[in-house]
């Protein structure tokens, strides 16, 4: 199955964006993001804490809907999902 990952702002600068990932079905959302982020230590450290959990300020969306941090460890991604990971917003 194919999942798209979109990073924004600082995370985008560190890790790129619109990344298409081929994964086995059954992959947890947090695991998927972690695998991508691991490609660059600075990117990983920006998003995950020392225990490998999303940092408290990090926002994760799946298909445009925000997930609670706890959910990210238990939600499985599905074919065609769009996962967005970004820092607190600063528009306006």
């Amino acid at each position: 199955m194919t999942v798209k990952i979109r990073f924004f702002a600082r995370f985008r600068e560190l890790l790129g964006t619109d990344i298409l990932v081929e994964k086995k079905s059954g992959t947890m959302l947090a695991t998927l993001v972690k695998d991508i982020a691991l490609e660059k230590k600075e990117g990983y450290d920006a998003i995950f804490d020392a225990n490998g959990n999303f940092r408290e300020f990090v926002i994760v969306m799946r298909n445009g809907k925000r997930l609670e941090p706890a959910e990210t460890a238990t939600v499985m991604v599905a074919d065609g999902d769009e996962i967005a990971v970004f820092p607190p917003v600063a528009g306006g």
Binding site: A9, V89, G91
Partner: protein
């Protein structure tokens, strides 16, 4: 119009179009790139989600503050000092609603619309931190 776009917009025209029947007051908020040692600003949005959030905020503001018309135009891309970043135009029968509705919209945008700003500064670039404290700054979806 509710839009996220690179282009600037003609505020005078938006004001005229905001004058629906019953309008007694129009309030415009125009957020501008400020010259705090900034040369330019680079704006980025999660466009589909940001647009949806702006549409929701406009609908909420209309209901909560009895607005007759709402425009929100948030610009993205590279903007220079003095350029418009965010234009909010609201109309209402009376001024208290127009002011309150305008303010509601800007505060909600600051809280929860996925847009980010990077300052291109004389002393280096900097992502602008969200105004909202830890745990906020999250879209409500």
């Amino acid at each position: 119009m509710i839009a996220i776009q690179h282009e600037d917009v003609d505020i005078g025209r938006l004001i005229e179009e905001a004058k629906q029947p019953g309008t007694g007051a129009v309030v415009v908020f125009d957020g501008v790139v400020r010259d705090d040692d900034v040369r330019e600003m680079e704006l980025e949005a999660y466009e589909e989600v940001a647009l949806r959030e702006l549409e929701k905020i406009a609908e909420e503001a209309k209901k909560l503050h009895t607005l007759l018309h709402v425009d929100i135009v948030h610009r993205i891309g590279r903007l220079s000092v003095g350029e418009n970043i965010l234009i909010i135009v609201v109309s209402a029968g009376h001024r208290p609603q127009a002011y309150a509705g305008s303010r509601y919209i800007i505060e909600e945008i600051k809280k929860g619309v996925p847009i980010w700003k990077k300052e291109l500064r004389k002393d280096g670039d900097r992502w602008v931190p969200g105004e909202h404290p830890h745990g906020s700054g999250k879209p409500r979806s």
